[in-house]
Symmetry: C2
Subunit: 415 residues, 2 copies
């Protein structure tokens, strides 16, 4: 018989326990930080009606057809595996817009799918922390959402020097262009697209291209960009006030999404080997327009697991391998395995993770494996222990021993 391949579907990842432990560390840190700001978790299915992605016009329809997993179900409904969380959360917020007590702070850790040619570092499925404050126009919401993204990295063990927060504001840029007499949306879009390449191309090339778009204002725009880092605005001042100082204005910052209307921001890794944007977000005026005539504004960001793992790896912040159990029960002979489970149930009952080694290895090898596993203790179960009802708990770190009845030992270890 020919065997099937053991690789996962192209572009998605298997999470064996070692990788899953890192993934869980990332999810737990995300979740703990968001909840420390009073954010509430939500979720939805990966399956969404395709129309929620298509309704923004022909360009979007093309994107849906070519870059997402979209198929027709047997009830003739068009279904898409969500490529981003924003349309889903907009749908959910719109569905309860009359009941929710705004502002609300919501977060989620969805998996998202993109159908694309797989290349190094690009995957077809990734997980993303999504945080939003809905229903507040106060600039303090912008400051808080950036503070939350900042605190997430700090809670992973990052130092502020390891990353830089770059902030821009769509309204401020618009006002600036208007002060130069530029109000044509198409021209502004062209300038914004060029600005997005500002840090990647030569100053002279930037200026040459800018002159082709707007000959008269090119010098003023370049000067405005170049004085960014000496400027401040309400957001950067607010962040400084709450103790966040690795932040600067960057007027070249563009962000791809149409729906941002105010503050936009990105976090960049400062390590030269991983010098790229790690996360981004911004403020939008009308999230829910597709679903309801009641406009809900907000501010939010998204942070991906692949990018996060790269950042942690680059800065030596990945967690040490975690032991599977705190106590490992070792049997002198196989016939004591039920006794071993009985001992273990007592310890598990008081919250102590306990594994019974039911392998057929020799006693010495079992002890060596327990030592290697990172567990805190071993507890041997054999003839003598079972008949006397007294057990010895050996601390693997310092070799000390504690002995007593199961009740004594459980009490000593209880969490």
């Amino acid at each position: 018989m020919k065997h099937l391949p053991t690789e996962p579907y192209k572009g998605v990842r298997d999470f064996y326990p070692e990788d899953m432990a890192v993934q869980q560390h990332i999810f737990n840190t995300w979740s703990r930080t968001a909840e420390s700001f009073g954010f509430e978790r939500y979720d939805a299915s990966v399956l969404e009606p395709s129309e929620i992605y298509k309704s923004k016009g022909a360009e979007n329809e093309e994107m849906v057809n070519e870059q997402t997993y979209t198929f027709t179900d047997r009830g003739d409904r068009e279904v898409t595996l969500r490529p981003e969380m924003t349309p889903t959360v907009a749908r959910m917020i719109a569905g309860k817009s009359k009941e929710l007590a705004f502002p609300v702070r919501w977060y989620s850790i969805p998996n998202l799918f993109r159908y694309e040619r797989t290349q190094r570092g690009r995957v077809r499925e990734h997980w993303q922390l999504n945080c939003d404050i809905f229903g507040s126009n106060d600039i303090v919401a912008d400051i808080e959402i950036i503070a939350l993204a900042y605190q997430t990295l700090i809670n992973f063990g990052a130092q502020p020097e390891m990353f830089e927060i770059r902030v821009n504001d769509r309204r401020e840029m618009k006002e600036f262009y208007e002060s130069l007499g530029i109000s044509d949306e198409e021209i502004i879009t062209k300038i914004t697209r060029l600005n997005d390449r500002f840090h990647k191309i030569d100053r002279s090339l930037y200026l040459a291209e800018l002159r082709q778009i707007t000959p008269d204002s090119a010098d003023a725009i370049l000067a405005h960009l170049e004085e960014s880092s000496q400027s401040e605005n309400e957001v950067t001042r607010g962040l400084n006030a709450v103790g966040i100082n690795n932040v600067k204005i960057d007027r070249s910052l563009a962000r791809g999404f149409d729906y941002y209307t105010g503050t936009i921001f990105e976090f960049f890794d400062t390590d030269p080997s991983n010098n790229r944007s790690m996360l981004g977000g911004g403020r939008y005026d009308n999230l829910t327009g597709l679903f309801t005539s009641e406009a809900v504004s907000g501010v939010g960001f998204g942070m991906g697991d692949v990018t996060m793992r790269d950042f942690l790896d680059t800065h030596g912040l990945l967690p040490a391998k975690k032991a599977g159990a705190q106590v490992i029960v070792i049997l002198t002979e196989e016939r004591f395995n039920i006794d071993g489970e009985k001992v273990a149930m007592k310890l598990r009952g008081v919250g102590v993770p306990t594994l019974v080694d039911i392998s057929t290895k020799k006693l010495g090898k079992k002890v060596a494996a327990a030592d290697h596993s990172g567990a805190g203790y071993i507890l041997v179960v054999g003839e003598d222990e079972v008949s006397r009802g007294e057990y010895v708990l050996k601390n693997l770190a310092d070799g000390t021993e504690m002995s007593g009845t199961l009740e004594d030992l459980a009490q000593g270890l209880a969490v």
Copy 2:
């Protein structure tokens, strides 16, 4: 403009924060219990090559085509949204069968998809705790896996009287049929299918149908089934030995899956209003046959979130609504909102979940909302507090107050 509907795709669920809190409670209890037995978590994508579900023959191919979400990607690969976790974990175990130190204990909490006519209580997507011990033929593994399922319910707050564990053994049944001279697999399958209806139909109807399958042995088989609950085997004795007594042999227990070869078990809710199977599992000989010639045996079970929620609901074990934050910061005027965030950042930094009320409600309404939220404390920030650098923390449960600098209060609350 016509608005899009806010309902999710047919048959899947939105998890608004209140529902998500229940879902997280279920996932956390599952995860905590599995880890207390030394199980390690794994995961994989919902996308799997369709062939891993089809290879068991034509009947399976029909199941894949009619009851799963299967589609062809643009690279002409056939892809299925996983309907169960077993083929995935078989693929993963086979992929590392040479490196893994068996026995291994693995668990996962995947979402699974079934394409079916939606009816009351049936959903197209659900989540399932999957636990397996791979690579042990020792009966203690069967006992441990059942003990884990038992302890999971106990950790939700269940009492043993609330459910009943029913155990059967495919080998024992086969031996019994052979003792009656029945060894034809087709006849045994027919009897097993009928047994599956034993508790649902009249004794006389059961006997009549059984006589049609096997006239000579019908009475002996019925007697064998009826004396089930007075019997015991190694598994039930082992469970009793580790303190689990709500268990009995039920020789009518069939379980649907072909691949079980030894112990099979199900947990039944004893409440008459929810009298049904809550979870099930069993032992299999060769999990990995599709992927490798090295057979890996094991024992495992699956437990679904919808069934679990019904059980918790039936027995009044659903958790109380959890407060979003421990401390709510209230501003006397909007202009203190940055000061409010500054205070909050200090508390969040020591692990205290802190929410700043940035709503435009009046002061009194903010206090009432905080009181209603279930938070432990409020902390008011205004002119006086900011200028003196001293704050008052009011305990909402007993009305007591604690005052001091931010450092003092953070220290007093630190977790």
